[in-house]
């Protein structure tokens, strides 16, 4: 903020037409635009991973806005705790839940989107008229004095937490412990059947319907060894289970029939070529 104020002071004596303190204004308009874009992307993007990335963008821009408003500590905590830890947890759970967990676009309640849109517009209008009517033009006291009282923003927040808000701080520790224990209890799974022995596992592996050895690796019998390219069996058919399941689920595996045709063409061409070459070498000898 000092830097921003300094920029503002420079701007005041600088080129004509630039109003004082325009550094903060520029920061605000850039970050606010990006934050709203991120928020809209969170709501509108179809895949949950895209939503997570969009909301991380919103959070980082909000951190910049916090720092522009003299809240250095909160800006840093926003980046480290929210964008770093909480969003990482979200992405981690997305990984557990699976890549095919994209939202269905079918409306399950009739007219819900329309009503939600109406509620959105109405709520936003209510908030905006309330804020602008009641609070526009309110005096801005600024945090310079409050921040310098104890030597800095972090020190000031620390003094407040350990004096006036000590009880809330202690209750927070109880909340955090409860949350940690609760998460462990919720995700803990009791073992309801005995652990299988090596012999039992081996018998199961050779039972009918299971696969005793490794699955075929993708692409090695074909021309291309990309992971999305199914392997070809010696009889020319395509080994479906050579493509990893996530790729098959997402529909990223390549078309097997097309591939077989292409491969047969290539083999025929290649065979003809080798025959020609053999003839050629035989003639020259």
């Amino acid at each position: 903020m000092n830097a921003l104020a300094h920029m503002g002071a420079l701007a005041a004596t600088g080129p004509i037409g630039v109003e004082p303190n325009s550094g903060e204004q520029i920061t605000f308009w850039i970050c606010a635009t990006l934050a709203v874009i991120g928020a809209l992307g969170t709501v509108l993007s179809r895949k949950a991973v895209h939503s997570a990335l969009f909301i991380a963008m919103t959070m980082i821009n909000l951190a910049v806005l916090y720092i522009a408003q003299d809240a250095l500590f909160l800006g840093m905590v926003q980046v480290i705790v929210y964008t770093g830890a909480v969003m990482m947890l979200f992405v981690f759970v997305l990984m557990v839940v699976g890549v095919d967990a994209s939202d269905s676009l079918v409306e399950t309640i009739k007219g819900q989107r329309l009503l939600a849109g109406l509620a959105f517009v109405g709520f936003l209008g209510l908030l905006l008229t309330g804020i602008v009517d009641a609070l526009d033009g309110m005096p801005l006291n600024g945090l310079q004095a409050a921040n310098e009282l104890h030597g800095g923003n972090v020190q000031g927040i620390g003094v407040l937490i350990f004096t006036r808000y000590l009880l809330a701080f202690e209750v927070t520790s109880a909340l955090l412990i409860t949350a940690a224990v609760g998460a462990m209890v919720l995700t803990h799974r009791e073992r309801i059947e005995p652990r299988k022995t090596q012999a039992q596992l081996s018998v199961e592996r050779f039972a009918p319907g299971s696969h005793p050895v490794n699955k075929p690796s993708p692409g090695v019998y074909a021309r291309n060894n990309a992971v999305s390219m199914p392997a070809m069996l010696p009889d020319g058919s395509v080994a479906e289970d050579s493509v990893p399941t996530p790729l098959r689920v997402r529909g990223d595996a390549r078309d097997a029939d097309l591939l077989a045709l292409e491969e047969a063409d290539h083999l025929a061409h290649h065979e003809a070529m080798t025959v020609d070459e053999a003839d050629g070498t035989g003639a020259s000898r």
Partner: protein, 99 residues
């Protein structure tokens, strides 16, 4: 700079988050929208701290962050548990308590 701008941004982000909670079906995305609403309210707290010239608003925003972190941990644990039993992360699926 007029602090009302920050409050308007906060209101917009909060409304978008609320709309997302209403519209989306995936429980994890609903959770992200709740985080968005909490972030928007934090921005309002920080702005009011600056308007009043006191750090109390920032302390409250800090507590909101702590509560949000705890809420995310428990909520995601619930989502994982439901996903294990129902094999779905959609908020439409778990209707076991319905009459």
């Amino acid at each position: 700079m007029n602090p009302t701008n920050y409050l308007v941004l906060s209101a917009i982000l909060f409304s978008i988050g609320a709309g997302g909670v209403l519209v989306r079906r995936n429980a994890i995305v609903v959770f992200m929208c709740i985080e968005l609403m909490l972030n928007a309210s934090n921005l309002a707290f920080v702005t009011f701290a600056r308007v009043n010239g006191a750090l109390d608003g920032q302390v409250v925003a800090f507590f909101v962050m702590v509560v949000a972190a705890a809420e995310v941990v428990v909520g995601l644990a619930i989502i994982v548990t439901i996903f294990r039993t129902r094999n779905s992360a959609s908020v439409d699926e778990p209707n076991l308590l319905k009459l």
